[in-house]
């Protein structure tokens, strides 16, 4: 029997093939290019940069002490003395917005960091080990998801003193389920990837496979969900503060600034007072969502430029 391939085999090529590497772009550069091609994502990133920067430098940027009350100036319209007006106790809105950004962003970042951590650990263990452990952990996730979280949040915040720490903890404890499911899915598909099998064949330890091999390849979706998650938490914090169950006065947060503006007399007479904190919430959440979408496209290997 003559085989067509045999011709190829007898003709032995030299061992060293020509393998000059093409000057390729690194993975990060390709991702950066994909991100930059998304205009909204770039706008979102610039907005976030400004918002985070002004929150960080609030003490230097704020024209006044955010809790200084000048009752005579209460509900002053935007003008020379108060750029964005003054509230019902005569406090400078701009200064309160700047300090409020610190609170809102802190709650957002800290609680998302917490929920990403919990979600990643639980999802990674469930997805990598699979079997009964996976079934138990995922039923637990289902149970947490099926809690009516808003009411539970309200209950918890009323039981414990509604402080910054309580809020962060509560958001972290109820926010991790989505991440856990996402990470589990990633691990489930990556654990049977050939490079993971190769690592097991080489005797690399499970902990190293989980963190160094699989997690590094699952980072994209995790970062995206974290980015989108921060926007969600900022909204939730504003909602709780608006209900009076979030950050307590006199600490300014965008949510409780809205709350103190909910008096109809204020809303009709002093439109600028609820407008600015509401606008800040809108802009910040939008910016996080734009950045999240941009990152998702940048991390997605299927969309190649």
């Amino acid at each position: 029997m003559t085989l067509p391939n045999q011709v190829e085999f007898t003709n032995r090529p030299t061992l060293l093939e020509d393998h000059q590497l093409q000057p390729h772009d690194s993975i990060w550069r390709v991702m950066l290019r994909k991100y930059m091609s998304n205009k909204l994502a770039v706008i979102g990133a610039i907005l976030l940069f400004i918002i985070i920067g002004s929150a960080l430098f609030a003490p230097w940027l704020a024209p006044q002490d955010p809790s200084k009350q000048v009752l005579l100036d209460k509900l002053s319209p935007p003008g020379d003395k108060y750029i964005l007006g003054a509230d019902n106790l005569g406090r400078d809105t701009l200064s309160r917005l700047l300090y409020g950004a610190r609170v809102s962003l802190l709650v957002g970042f800290a609680s998302v960091a917490g929920s990403i951590f919990i979600g990643t650990v639980i999802g990674a263990v469930a997805g990598y080990y699979g079997g009964k452990l996976d079934a138990v952990l995922m039923r637990f996730v289902d149970a947490v998801i099926s809690f009516p979280s808003l009411f539970l949040l309200i209950t918890l915040v009323t039981i414990f003193e509604p402080s910054l720490m309580t809020l962060i903890a509560v958001f972290a404890i109820f926010g991790w389920t989505g991440t856990a499911r996402l990470v589990r899915g990633e691990f489930l598909s990556l654990r049977s990837a050939e490079f993971v099998l190769a690592a097991r064949t080489l005797g690399i330890r499970n902990s190293r496979i989980i963190f160094s091999h699989i997690l590094s390849n699952a980072m994209g979706p995790i970062i995206v969900s974290a980015t989108l998650g921060i926007g969600g938490v900022i909204l939730a914090e504003a909602a709780l503060s608006y209900l009076g169950l979030g950050i307590q006065p006199p600490i300014p947060s965008w949510g409780n600034m809205l709350q103190s503006a909910q008096n109809p007399q204020v809303m009709l007479g002093a439109w600028w007072y609820p407008l600015f904190p509401g606008f800040m919430i809108l802009i910040t959440v939008l910016a996080f969502n734009f950045v999240g979408d941009g990152l998702r496209d940048a991390f997605d290997p299927k969309i190649n430029d």
Partner: protein
């Protein structure tokens, strides 16, 4: 011949299978069954018999080819040999150590160093986030080989030269290499711990023919250079014919024939092997005899509901009545030529 005799396990062939040198790997009655679960309660309703009662030996220094259609269980078999798939039954003895039930801790100094694998897909088998240097360095560190980083780097550079890559490619990432180069990296990774046995699972199937030839030649050179033993799993009969010393043919989780390459390709005994070989396209030169084309009817039966008796009886052109009831065992019908078929009882 009655069926009880036919159902007997491998004992009678065991003595005939004796070879002068102690084999590097002995596989006895290996089974890998996956439970099929259904319903809310996840009851086990059946088993996929991916590997069903396979026994063979691998001699030191040889290349054992395993061929079969997709889905016949050859990859699962290969993976179960290094416990990437857990064997359901049977035993795997490597260098005199029974590794079938060893814990991962016991496997690490032995199997994880001495048996390695080359994978099929050169794109999926390398971690895209790790540079070539990192990929090769990690196993050395995991096993505490070569005291310091400088020595490890030396070893990696040497290895890259051995597989035909520039040592300067250490800092590059997988996406910067071509398919053939990636497969060379996969081979370098398999060699990094100085293994004795390498299982190549469809190692060249994803490459185009000219690259296939280069990789196969590389594998042959390395075998000579490092005294390697190969188990070469492939669906490509011509590639296996080129590289293997002995060839085993699998069908539906069973080994149906095992013989020296020269013998198997020239004088196949099992009807399935005959059909398989007749399907290989050939270039007829003047006066050369061509094999009659045997076309099998029907599809491979599901490995969940395997046919009774001989698993091949549903498609066998020379089926006999008792093939439907009696399971044939792998028997040595000629020196070194094993076949599991009632025709040779």
């Amino acid at each position: 011949m009655n069926s009880t005799q036919l159902l007997q396990p491998m004992e009678q062939t065991e003595s005939a299978n004796k070879i002068p040198v102690e084999p590097i790997l002995k596989v006895k009655n290996l089974k890998v069954h996956f439970p099929v679960k259904a319903g809310i309660m996840q009851r086990t309703t059946g088993y996929v018999k991916a590997v069903d009662d396979i026994s063979f030996h691998v001699k030191r220094g040889e290349t054992l080819g395993i061929v079969g259609e997709s889905g016949c269980g050859k990859s699962t078999m290969g993976r179960s040999l290094i416990r990437l798939n857990e064997p359901t039954e049977g035993s795997i003895i490597f260098n005199g150590n029974d590794i079938t039930a060893m814990s991962e801790k016991e496997l690490r100094p032995l199997i994880r160093r001495k048996i390695q694998m080359v994978f099929q897909d050169p794109y999926a088998s390398l971690n895209p986030r790790k540079s070539l240097g990192n990929t090769l360095n990690e196993p050395l560190r995991a096993h505490n080989l070569h005291g310091n980083q400088r020595e490890r780097d030396e070893r990696i550079k040497e290895l890259l030269n051995v597989v035909g890559l520039h040592s300067s490619s250490m800092n590059h990432y997988p996406h910067e290499f071509s398919g053939g180069q990636r497969q060379r990296i996969g081979i370098a990774r398999a060699l990094v711990l100085n293994p004795d046995l390498i299982i190549a699972d469809e190692a060249v199937s994803a490459l185009d023919v000219s690259i296939q030839a280069q990789i196969i030649n590389l594998l042959e050179d390395l075998q000579e250079q490092f005294d390697l033993t190969y188990i070469f799993i492939s669906h490509d009969l011509s590639v296996v014919r080129h590289i293997a010393d002995r060839v085993g043919v699998m069908y539906l989780g069973k080994l149906v024939e095992l013989a020296d390459k020269a013998e198997l390709y020239v004088e196949p005994l099992h009807p399935y092997t005959k059909a398989l070989l007749s399907a290989v396209p050939s270039i007829r030169s003047k006066g050369a005899q061509t094999r009659e084309r045997i076309v099998l009817k029907g599809d491979i039966p599901s490995s969940i509901n395997q046919p009774s008796g001989c698993v091949f009886h549903t498609r066998c052109p020379v089926r006999m009545e008792h093939c439907k009831v009696a399971i044939p065992t792998l028997k040595e019908v000629k020196p070194g030529h094993f076949v599991a078929c009632h025709l040779y009882d």
